[in-house]
């Protein structure tokens, strides 16, 4: 796809999902908003579903990533292994680089 935003993240990068709550057709599940995760892979670039839902072109296409979250970071009462994970597809405009903390 020629009309696509350039990817900003690479496999292994630490990211935070935006804690935003816009109305409309959004494919970022609530349970990962504001959560920290790691880029598992870049899936390619796809027209933005938030635009497609309203019969617009969704261009430029947004890079789409699979982001890996530790279950224990999502649910404080998670009952299972400390290394269990959930992987969720998230479009780039929902992701920010995690700030380095000292």
């Amino acid at each position: 796809m020629t009309d696509a935003v350039a990817p900003r993240f690479h496999t292994g990068d630490r990211v935070i999902v935006r804690a935003a709550y816009p109305i409309g057709h959004v494919r970022t599940p609530h349970y990962v908003r504001g959560k920290r995760g790691v880029i598992e892979r870049l899936c390619g670039a796809f027209p933005n579903p938030e635009e497609l839902a309203y019969a617009r072109q969704g261009l430029p296409a947004q890079p789409l990533y699979r982001v890996r979250f530790l279950q224990r970071d999502l649910w404080s009462d998670y009952d299972g292994s400390n290394v269990d994970v959930v992987e969720v597809e998230i479009y780039q405009h929902w992701l920010e680089a995690e700030e380095h903390t000292q």
Partner: protein, 209 residues
């Protein structure tokens, strides 16, 4: 003609003539479909054929990929790198599906869900089961996967990592279950019978011989 209502047994109440409900979206689908047919854009036969094709797809297609991977480690690797290409390589038409295949191992168990709706690799598994679309499964398997899997009779050892895949956007997922022990000399066709739909969603293991 008389009819004796008191004749020694009880009749159940008559079933209503209307045996389903006309929802807003069903009405809209019918209106759009009829318009498309009236305008000559599609025909009723094409619609019927599509429904027939959808109903005709089954998990045997996914099982072909899984078993090919069991028999050919190089194919398994290609499948994990690019599921769509690997499906096409063995002659499976997956349409516009972008397929990610995830592999169960001795230390990792994968399970698939779509928490937002009911995304599912229909081209490889057919229509999803009702429970896959239920709010119960969708809300719980991301939050307590071990409990949900146990309800399917699948108990994952504590030391095995569980990786839940939430199919929220453009990818579709297929779990490649582990090959059961005791199947070393089995034919490709026999092996396929062990790879059930549920084992490729990840709520079960492949059947054991």
């Amino acid at each position: 003609m008389s009819h004796d209502l008191d004749h020694g047994h009880v009749h159940s109440p008559p079933r209503p003539d209307q045996d389903d409900s006309l929802t807003y979206f069903r009405t809209m689908e019918m209106a759009v479909r009829e318009l498309l047919i009236d305008k000559g854009i599609i025909t009723a036969v094409e619609v019927r054929r599509q429904v027939e094709d959808m109903d005709g797809r089954n998990a045997g297609r996914g099982a072909q990929m899984v078993v090919r991977g069991w028999l050919d480690p190089a194919y398994q690797q290609r499948m994990l790198v690019d599921g769509t290409k690997a499906a096409e390589e063995i002659g499976l038409d997956v349409g516009s599906l972008k397929l990610v295949v995830v592999e169960n191992t001795a230390t990792v168990h994968n399970v698939i869900v779509c928490t937002l709706c009911s995304c599912y690799p229909r081209m490889l598994l057919g229509l999803p089961p009702d429970w896959y679309k239920s709010r119960n499964y969708r809300s719980r398997v991301v939050r307590e996967p071990r409990a949900v899997l146990a309800e399917f009779g699948t108990v994952i050892p504590e030391g095995t990592l569980i990786r839940v895949h939430d199919s929220t956007a453009d990818m579709r997922y297929l779990v490649a279950p582990m090959r059961p022990q005791g199947t070393e000399h089995w034919s490709e066709a026999d092996l396929r019978t062990l790879v059930t739909r549920d084992s490729m969603i990840g709520v079960a293991l492949a059947d054991s011989p």
